[in-house]
């Protein structure tokens, strides 16, 4: 019994210590941004990398998510003669939930992994030490631009994902389910509120920050050559994905009306 309790206690302490280290890392990186030098060029570079180059994968997943959603919601709603709700279900599901979550998970897989691999390689090849010896704070130079880019890029990606996702639902509804185009679009607009879109964008900003933070944190603390970098990459994607889903619940609850 004591052994079990000791294991649980050790696990809890490890979890709390890890959470504390992550929070300190984020706080130190953000605090580094309070004073110059600033690196706008690096923020723009990350912005392009995270946003522009993620467009195809996010757009594609959003399109098919919207299409599947139209089919599934039609299946459910037709059982109690409520087919007219398909447009509303698609637009609300996409803007409030699936747009930000799908985009967050896709960016975690594409960008979070790449960040962890890049920064991890810089760590094990002493490039991060080299930054310090060249009077450059690695947190300010490497981490902060990525956090800022993550925070700003994902909402923009989600706006595009929302539009594409709704368009995917529209395509299926019109060409597969024989809905009337005008009434489908009317229904899409009719029940959509500003809060639906805003809550999705707030989620996106939080998810973008999480993806960048976990990618940077895992890469920054990687050890032991190629194996360590590989491990950091895996941890970055897994931890970001789990944190996205956990924070999604709490954000949904916060916006719940």
């Amino acid at each position: 019994m004591m052994g079990f309790l000791a294991s649980v206690g050790a696990l809890a302490l490890t979890f709390l210590a890890g959470t504390g280290r992550l929070a300190l890392f984020a706080a130190r990186a953000l605090a580094a941004g309070l004073a110059p030098p600033y690196y706008p060029r690096l923020i723009v570079r990350q912005f392009v990398y995270m946003g522009y180059y993620s467009l195809p994968v996010v757009g594609m997943t959003a399109l098919f998510t919207g299409m599947v959603l139209a089919l599934q919601s039609y299946t459910a709603s037709s059982r109690f003669n409520a087919e007219s709700t398909v447009a509303t279900i698609v637009v609300l599901s996409i803007t409030r939930e699936l747009g930000p979550v799908i985009a967050g998970l896709m960016v975690a897989g594409r960008v979070g992994a790449a960040m962890a691999a890049e920064i991890g390689t810089m760590r094990v090849t002493e490039q991060i030490d080299a930054l310090t010896t060249l009077s450059t704070d690695p947190l300010r130079y490497l981490v902060l631009p990525r956090l800022v880019a993550g925070l700003l890029t994902l909402p923009l990606l989600v706006i595009i994902a929302d539009i594409i996702g709704v368009f995917g639902g529209y395509l299926v509804a019109i060409y597969k389910l024989d809905f009337n185009a005008v009434s489908y679009l009317t229904q899409t607009q009719q029940y959509l509120k500003t809060n639906d879109v805003v809550s999705g964008l707030v989620k996106a900003a939080v998810f973008g920050f999480i993806v960048a933070l976990m990618g940077c944190y895992q890469g920054y603390h990687s050890r032991g050559g190629a194996e360590g970098v590989g491990q950091a990459t895996t941890y970055a994607v897994v931890s970001a994905s789990i944190l996205i889903l956990i924070s999604d619940y709490f954000l949904t609850q916060a916006f719940f009306t």
């Binding site: 030098p37 490039q127 030490d129 080299a130 009077s135 450059t136």
Partner: protein, 262 residues
Amino acid sequence: MTSSGPQIPKIAVRGLQKSFGTNLVLAGVDVSVATGESLVIIGGSGTGKSVLIKCILGLLVPDGGSIRIDGAETVGLAGRAREQLTHKFGMLFQGSALFDSLPVWENVAFGLIQGRGMPRRQARDIALQKLAAVGLGAEVAALRPAELSGGMQKRVALARAIAAEPEILFFDEPTTGLDPIMADVINRLIVQCVRGLGATAVSITHDMVSTRKIADRVAMLHRGRIVWHGPAADIDRSGNPFVDQFVNGREEGPIHMQVRAA
């Protein structure tokens, strides 16, 4: 191992300790380097040479002891004060540690542009001068580090280390992985650059050819302590069994090589 006279040593390390978990790497290191002197720290793999210079550079925080640069304590410095101190340093890393996302000239100019806020055009001109100083032409300036040979990467790393004309230069295994001819070229460049700048130099190596070429003084680190120090000319008549075994590369002697990492 202080310099003669009342002059304050450029670097003075006293009782420096550093552990990683239960592994005591530095067990009270005492070493000083006079201004303009080139000190080479020798010792086997895993004796704490890299840890020692990383502590001096501020990349690692020591568990105990003192590190004074120009007489001022540096242990515990952080933020702007640490950044200001770092302006005095230039470092050549073992694996060169060039930024592979940047072209060669920007690697060399990095400390000038990012660390000191110099305009890019001016920093580029200085980078080209420093590349020329290590025997590289302007044609390599636009290349990426991955396009260069190991010897050329080392030269670029040396150019980066001297670009801001630091007061203290650190060299971590400068000739590791190079053929003997390229190693000799790097040794010559190190001597040339250190003398040209009038800088103080601290190198760590287990390459005795390199040691003889670049050292004014030599210190030997074993099990986390300095076990011998003296002029480079005395290395072959030190009378110290650790130094004798190491310099002559003998298996028999007081140093027992560990098969497993500590």
